[in-house]
Amino acid sequence: MKHPPFPALKLPLLLVLVALLLALLGALWSRGQAQDAAQALQLQNSALNGARQQLDRSRQQQQLIATHLAAYQALAARGFVGAEDRLAWIEAAQQANRDAGLYGLDYRLTPRTSSLSALAQGLPLGQTTMTLTLPLLVETDLMRFLAALKARAPGVYRLQGCALSRLNDAKFASANQPQLQAECELQWFTVAEHTVAAKKGGRP
């Protein structure tokens, strides 16, 4: 068998080639099938993990809603969520002034600005500065006014600061006319509802 008789072996050689070809084709085809199946399995695995995470997230969200929905709706009713209700703020200041029995006040509202990101924590938090100038008879009038405003305030605000000064450079003394003037600065906070609503679109 040192020298194969090739002329007599054409058919067997062809058979070997065909077998080799078929084996290769079969192996390649099935390998492709296996690779596709492995890829599909991997994708399906990822999808399943995604579904698990989605379900966990929805449960957490359900818990969040159950915990915070009532408070959120109350905030929305107070005007913290949504567009600014400046008229309500002015009305609250006027009403507090009347409740405290004071002598009127001047107000000034600045345009709404975005709050510092450290405070907003990613929310579309805006703030509007309201400056109130009101004459006082005694210092305690300011306390009464602030207490009345807290009771009347429809939204969320913080008293940023006040400056008490004497009117007409008069000495602090009791009199029937206001001798003091207070200039207070309030920050009204609102969360823009349209942005929140836009983000609702991203909810699963």
Partner: protein, 505 residues
């Protein structure tokens, strides 16, 4: 097993018998006489079994054996050496061959060969012509004596000097084996007077003398004689031979032979000539007397079979790999299907939960964040009442200090977390004694500093600037205090409510 199927021919000058053999099975196809009809029937038989390899075992009187010791060489040198030796010994014989039986253990360690040939084998030509015409893969031609050697193996005969006496219809064959290897054989034809038991014993004795004379058999060796004769005519020769101490004779019976060959007794009894054929059928051929041109078809057959086996192996391998991959793919598909069902279940549960979410509300995270932020912003703001009380109490301890302006800024939402106050006041009455005024102011600052909620008190501006780097001008005053200017100063306070936690975003 089917791949090992082959035909074993037992050829004699008168006829040719055919055994269809495969491991564990054999079938005697009959005998074909050396005639035109016999050749035609033989040809039909060959056509019917086309594709099967054939081994031809020849039983002829015209055979010659020669034992030779030749130098140990390999490869082409050995082929050329043997070719020359065979031509030298057998000259014009067509069927000849050499078998390297063993190697000497001493001296040059030469090789011991058995050279064999059919001196006159013209009677084989018609049969071989049929095989050649039908392109039968003839694997070899070998003498019957070699087939009988395998018969001894099957019988587990281990005597060093054995003479097998085998009677068939056409004659009596005597074959000598040394240590189980064929050394010499002769056939006494059926037309010779060997029918008598005494003649058979004489022939065996003559053969022993010949072997001794040729120094094939050592003089002192005792010859172990095995007699096999299905007709029983050699039975009486056993006693005659055993009377001579140079012989040790034993009769082979059909049952023991059939048991050794693993064939039925009746089959062996009906066709005793198949015994050596069955013995050699599954063995590799060691002594092949066929010329190379007659083996061409078998060479092709072997290549063809090897290629077919390779093709089958490749196909099986491919099938195995394909099946393994396919099964793996099916397994992974099933797993993916299972995972898909699990995912659908999770999705359904997620949708069921999501349907409970209020449609008008913000995203749950933003909702919670909004509520938390509002609570932070709504958290307790500095108590202004307490803050003013601190200032008021300090002023009560210092009636000469008159408050003019007071302002504060809530920084509790910042990192500082404190309330910054600015206090503008004046020392009244002021008689122009700045030293005394400064002492009062310092006492007032100490009073404020003593309050726990006040973290720091600093003087922003004083009634007089005594700094060496600035210009200081003024005038002294008389005793009328109304004419003196006010001793105004400004303080800065850092206020932190006691126990108050910073509200930081």
């Amino acid at each position: 097993m089917i791949l090992n199927r082959r035909l074993i021919l037992l050829a004699t000058p008168r006829q040719i018998g055919v055994l269809d053999w495969r491991p564990g099975h054999m079938h005697w196809l009959g005998e074909f006489t050396h005639s035109a009809k016999g050749l035609a029937d033989f040809r039909q038989m060959v056509i019917k079994h086309a594709g099967l390899p054939i081994l031809l075992v020849a039983d002829t009187v015209d055979e010659d054996y020669r034992s030779e010791v030749l130098p140990h060489v390999k490869g082409r040198a050995r082929d050329e050496l043997l070719s020359r030796k065979l031509k030298q010994v057998f000259r014009n014989a067509r069927f000849l061959g050499a078998w390297r039986q063993e190697r000497e253990t001493t001296g040059r360690r030469d090789d011991r060969y058995l050279l064999a040939a059919f001196a006159d084998a013209d009677w084989l030509t018609p049969w071989l012509s049929v095989l050649h015409r039908e392109r039968v893969p003839l694997s070899g031609i070998t003498p019957l004596a070699l087939a009988c050697q395998y018969l001894l193996d099957r019988l587990r005969v281990h005597e060093p000097h054995t003479l097998l006496v085998f009677r068939l219809s056409h004659g009596l064959r005597l074959s000598y084996y040394q240590n189980g290897l064929l050394r010499f054989s002769r056939l006494i034809g059926g037309d010779t007077p060997t029918q008598l038991p005494g003649n058979a014993a004489d022939d065996i004795a003559k053969t022993q003398l010949y072997l001794t004379g040729q120094r094939i058999l050592p003089r002192e060796a005792r010859l172990h004689v095995l007699l096999f004769d299905p007709s029983g005519q050699l039975d009486s020769a056993q006693a005659q031979l055993n009377a001579d101490p140079a012989f040790s004779t034993r009769l082979l019976d059909i049952p023991s032979l059939a048991r050794a060959l693993r064939i039925p007794d009746d089959f062996l009894l009906a066709t005793p000539q198949i015994a050596p054929l069955a013995a050699i059928a599954g063995e590799a051929l060691q002594l092949n007397l066929a010329p190379p041109e007659l083996l061409q078809h078998h060479t092709e057959f072997r290549w063809r079979r090897a290629l077919h086996a390779a093709a089958a192996g490749i196909a099986l391998l491919g099938l195995g790999v394909t099946a393994a991959y396919w099964l793996s793919a099916q397994d992974m598909n099933a797993q993916a299907q299972q995972l898909s069902q699990q995912q659908q279940q999770l999705d359904r549960r997620h949708r069921a939960i999501a349907q409970t979410f209020p449609a008008q509300a913000a995203a749950p995270e933003q909702l919670a964040q909004t509520v938390t932020l509002a609570r932070q912003l709504d958290a307790r703001q500095p108590d202004i009442h307490a803050l003013l009380a601190v200032i008021g109490q300090a002023l009560q301890t210092a009636p000469e200090i008159v408050l003019e302006n007071l302002s504060w800024t809530d920084n509790t939402l910042t990192a500082a977390g404190v309330v910054q106050l600015t206090l503008d006041a004046a020392v009244t009455p002021f008689d122009g004694n700045y030293r005394a005024a400064m002492q009062r102011i310092e006492r007032f600052m100490h009073t404020l500093q003593a309050v726990p909620a006040v973290e720091a008190v600093s003087l922003r501006s004083s009634p007089v600037n005594a700094d060496s780097n600035s210009t200081l001008s003024g005038k002294t005053f008389d005793a009328n205090p109304d004419a003196a200017p006010d001793a105004r100063f400004s303080l800065s306070l850092t206020y932190r409510e006691s126990g108050r936690r910073e509200v930081r975003p």
